[in-house]
Symmetry: C2
Subunit: 256 residues, 2 copies
DNA sequence: AAAATAGTGTCTCTTAGACACTATCGG
DNA sequence: CCGATAGTGTCTAAGAGACACTATTTT
């Protein structure tokens, strides 16, 4: 009976979109080491510069402008799968944290027609971006400090996508255990603290001593018993791990 | 130059989706009054039952099963706008809280083809659903208590959409000021408490005295000076209002 | 010894949350 | 005056966050 219904379904009854795409905001944390000073830690976003000319030799849409990497979703995959595939194609990176954060479908957002975009953000440790390469459609691939994004020309509505991505990652870093994706499996309290300080200046997180104490009481962080590292200081430091759990901290019970 | 690029763009280069739809999980809170006892307050979800036969007299896809209201997005609107329009068409409700929470695009999720769905949830006060009516495609419209959803036949992948919606609204009620959409402009602490208790059993929220005290210290809630109501009890109770602001409460600084 | 990060001792102030109590009003 | 909801008084234990201090290692 569903079979009959199926035959009768007329897909021409409604206009259909001209394209279904996935875009990806790839974030990484860059740590700039300095002699005799603490490193400068900042969050960076990867962008690609669109070529002026396509592979076929014709002028490219929004050529020369910077954009989030992305591309068309294929009928046999989800937008999230497409995002993973495209990130792999664009940068050679696989198996990293990826999260959908928005749909962009405002009529007229893309001059090529009715084109829908699913926006994702990805978090990659800094070193995996070392081996990145420009692809066919990209003139150049580059990391930008978030503060520097204001001064560059962005394609389509990517200014909007990027500002939404930044808001989303900020909130996720502070309200979920997403920070683990910026860190090695086992990390010191100061490494976690450095990640969080890229998105907040909360005094409780800023104070070394408070944070060193607090980390031991958090139910979603576990001490790696007996293990230490000296990679962040001369004195060996304890290592911690994230424990998988989801956390809802009601705003109605917290302190202000 | 972008003009030339535009002409050259071949939209047939990629396969395009067969449909772009919006679905809406409409939640309301039902308060069942009882003689000499506190009311039973529970969260309800509105579903429609799909007709067995379409308007054209042919068997309907997934006929007889229950589903979220929704429909096709038109090229001149966003999915969010479509969700508002469809809710208005289905139920006569307008201007209410609506939030996108997910994209459903798994290949094969809809037997009619490559059909994408944007899922939204909406929050409506109970009384506006009074005037609801079944539309062309719907046999019946009904509110279900969340616990009762397990026992009914759901169309397409709506079981997934619904369980995601419940998780999303639960988290939003506790971590944002979304609860205001279930309440009148000005409300008593016990009314807010009743809403929150539909999604949590946190002792700090459950205890009347704790909650009555806590509400006065929350920066996003303001006392309506001098105003009281007797609608919830014999003794007149103070009224409160939500103040617009966005709140990020880091999990790293909270108490456990 | 100096420099740098890791981490603890201890104090003060605030808050959570429990328990007992009072307040207001309708029936 | 009973019952129901609203709201306060008061206590205790726990935590936040600040400051001063100690610990471990490299140069």
């Amino acid at each position: 009976m569903n079979q009959q219904a199926l035959k009768k379904y007329d897909s021409g009854k409604y206009r259909t979109p001209d394209g279904y795409t996935s875009d990806i905001a790839v974030f990484t944390i860059h740590s700039e080491k300095r002699e005799h000073k603490p490193p400068i830690v900042s969050m960076m976003l990867m962008l690609i510069q669109r070529t002026e000319i396509t592979a076929e030799g014709t002028p490219n849409i929004e050529g020369g402008k910077w954009a989030l990497p992305g591309g068309f979703v294929q009928p046999d995959e989800t937008a999230l799968e497409a995002a993973h595939r495209e990130l792999l194609e664009e940068t050679g990176v696989r198996g990293i944290h990826m999260k959908h954060y928005g749909v962009y479908d405002r009529p007229g957002r893309d001059p090529r027609g009715w084109i829908l975009s699913n926006a994702h953000y990805a978090i990659v440790p800094e070193d995996v971006l070392k081996g990145r390469k420009a692809s066919d459609d990209a003139e150049d691939v580059q990391l930008f400090r978030l503060e520097d994004l204001k001064s560059i020309q962005l394609a389509f509505d990517h200014e909007q996508l990027i500002s939404d991505a930044i808001r989303e990652i900020r909130s996720d870093l502070l309200q979920t255990t997403a920070a683990k994706n910026f860190l090695p499996e086992e990390f010191t309290y100061s490494e976690l603290q450095a990640v969080l300080l890229t998105v907040t200046d909360d005094p409780a997180i800023k104070s070394e001593q408070s944070f060193a104490r607090k980390i031991k009481t958090l139910p979603f962080i576990q001490e790696a018993e007996g293990k230490t590292t000296a990679r962040t200081s001369k004195k060996p430091a304890k290592l911690y791990r994230f424990v998988e759990m989801d956390i809802i901290k009601p705003i109605y019970t917290a302190r202000y």
